[in-house]
């Protein structure tokens, strides 16, 4: 994958970083993710994924967030 490829958080590999470009979830869910610090332009690192359709753990703004599989697949990042 080259520069500027846009993928969702599930597709991002463990220990890789991305920059948030878009969140394609419902209004409330989007706002909630925003308020937990995921806004366009934010850098995130994918720390680990749970097994199967388990949640993902992100490192963002120097703290760790856990996000369910469904929501994580609606958060799009640009690989950096």
């Amino acid at each position: 994958m080259g520069e500027n490829t846009i993928i969702n958080l599930i597709e991002l590999k463990e220990n890789h970083e991305g920059e948030i470009v878009l969140i394609k979830a419902g209004r409330a869910a989007t706002q909630r993710l925003n308020e937990m610090g995921l806004v366009p332009g934010t850098k995130v690192k994918l720390v680990r994924k749970g097994p199967l359709r388990g949640p993902v753990e992100l490192e963002v703004r120097n703290s760790h967030l856990v996000i369910g599989y469904g929501l994580a697949s609606k958060v799009y990042v640009k690989i950096v």
Binding site: A29, Q31, E35, G54, P55, G68
Partner: protein
Amino acid sequence: MKKEIIIALAGNANVGKSVIFNQLTGLTQIIGNWPGKTVERAEGVLRFKGRTIKIVDLPGIYSLSAYSQEEIVSREFIAFEKPDVVINVVDASNLERNLFFTVQLLELHVPMVMALNQVDYALKKGIDIDVKKLEELLGIPVVETVATKGKGLQELINKVLEVVDSHKEVDVKRYDIKEEKVLKYRNEVSESVMKIYNILLKHNVDLINLFHPLWISLKLIEEDSDIVEKLKKEPNGEKAYEEIQKELEGLKAKTDNPLATLVTADRYDIASFIANQTVSEIHHRITWTDLIDNVALHKIWGYISMFIIVFISFYGIFKFGEYFSGVLEDFFDGFKPLVYNLNIPNMYKDFLWNGLAEGIISAITIVLPYIFPFYVFLSILENTGYLARIAFLMDEVMHKVGLHGKALIPVLMGFGCNVPAVLGTKILETDREIFIASFMSTLVPCSARIVIILGTIGVFMGPQYALAVFALDVLVVYIAAYFANKIAPGKPYDLIMELPGYRMPALKPTLKQIWFRIKDFLYVALPIIVVGSLVLEILKYSGIFKYVTYIMDPIVVKWLGLPSIVGIVLIFGILRKELTLIMLLTLSGTSHITQILTPRQMIVFGVVTMLYIPCIATIAALKRTIGWRKTWWVVFANIFIAILIGGILNRILTFV
């Protein structure tokens, strides 16, 4: 000078608000290391320098656009009830995210003081914060605190009093966003704020007297439904709202993102700016948390280690309890002859021994030795941060029953006591999730029921049988949740949770927490047990049991295969689950369960007691959380499940 002051503790989840509250008021709010423990506001009083300070502990929130029930509690209190001062408690080791909430408090322009808490933990992580600079940027007093050690709290209250005494009302009629020193939004947003503010002024909208104009204008840009409703209810509200809508169209045209995202992004920019100016990371260490989580959250090892932890603690609690239970029993057995050698009629001897002594003695010898190590284990689980890992590991499993992983945290708390478990389900987002999780909680055996199973099945048949009963319970809870989800269908919200770093449990608060729980047993359960035993003894002589057993025998004896008196103790068990076992023993005048129950009966009795009905206190908690109608549903479902599974077990076990 104001004599009575109300202050609120507000901030993100898991920053130490409740520890501060407990330190200041001497009360005992639930503390632990995972986000979302405090779910209702709690009040306490501090007397300081001749003044009465009412302190309000609030649920943790990340923003003032609250979603779940418990977050709404906080927002309502801060924004609508207007405490004299808000203490914004922040986690120094995680400043940027915490400042996002601080920014919103600044927008409200409420009188505030910041408690920069957990500076010890921040230092361990290699983080240093320039407090002077932070004060300067925020324009409010900042006090460094270590809540768990009580450090800095006196100074914190001094600052609070200073703020109260020097507070001046802001003039909402003359506001200009350009005068803000640190609250800098992108130009379009700032301009819209001023335009909306002018619209509100023009229409003489009362709302700006209630909340600061900046905050209202931003909320209207965000299209916060609650504030919009409030605006529309005003005399000129509809008109003002229309004009605002028109004003916002221009802003909307310029971006792909919802307007709320713009505002949030700007707030985060302000928070990052302040954090960058004040935080210096002396060195970035690989923390313990990262190392432990490599195992604890691993796809395979995570689950294996979870089972090992459960297994070790189970045997640890059992062995500890079994040993001390034996020691205490030998000790108390020596007293029986003392009573029976007294020169009084036999009936009184029965009253004295069976009614009074036996109850207390069984409670102390059977219950106490097990609940002590159990509460120690529970505290470790709560305070280290491991519970949040379980939420991560089990997220997908919980999705199958219409919940997310975090729902498991209150349910697991049910092992200690069902009451806080049921109340704790308020951290969930929707009524149906709260309903399913509360229902699950009631089927989780609380410490009392665990003791009954350990003290009978564990001691007389072997710990592996007790473990099997608990495994069966896990299955029952899961299947019950599955059906509850069918009755109240819906898609679960997805998990969004901050993962706390591991912490060494702070000694003093943890010991206090353990003592508080044991105290509940000594001061609440023991008296109930004594009174219950006395009433039982009196009823025994009154001959009323005949009628009760007559009604209950078809189920208790025929279907469950248990002795007739079990029916009576099950009724008393509704008061307090410990009573079932203790009364069974006193009624049969023995302390050895093997004399009354066969192994098969012991298992059926254990399982039925574990499931059959929530105790009175839990029913009250259910009523508060899900309302009477659903509470009755839960009660009857429990009774049904207990009778069903008890009867099936009775039949299956006859063949083995």
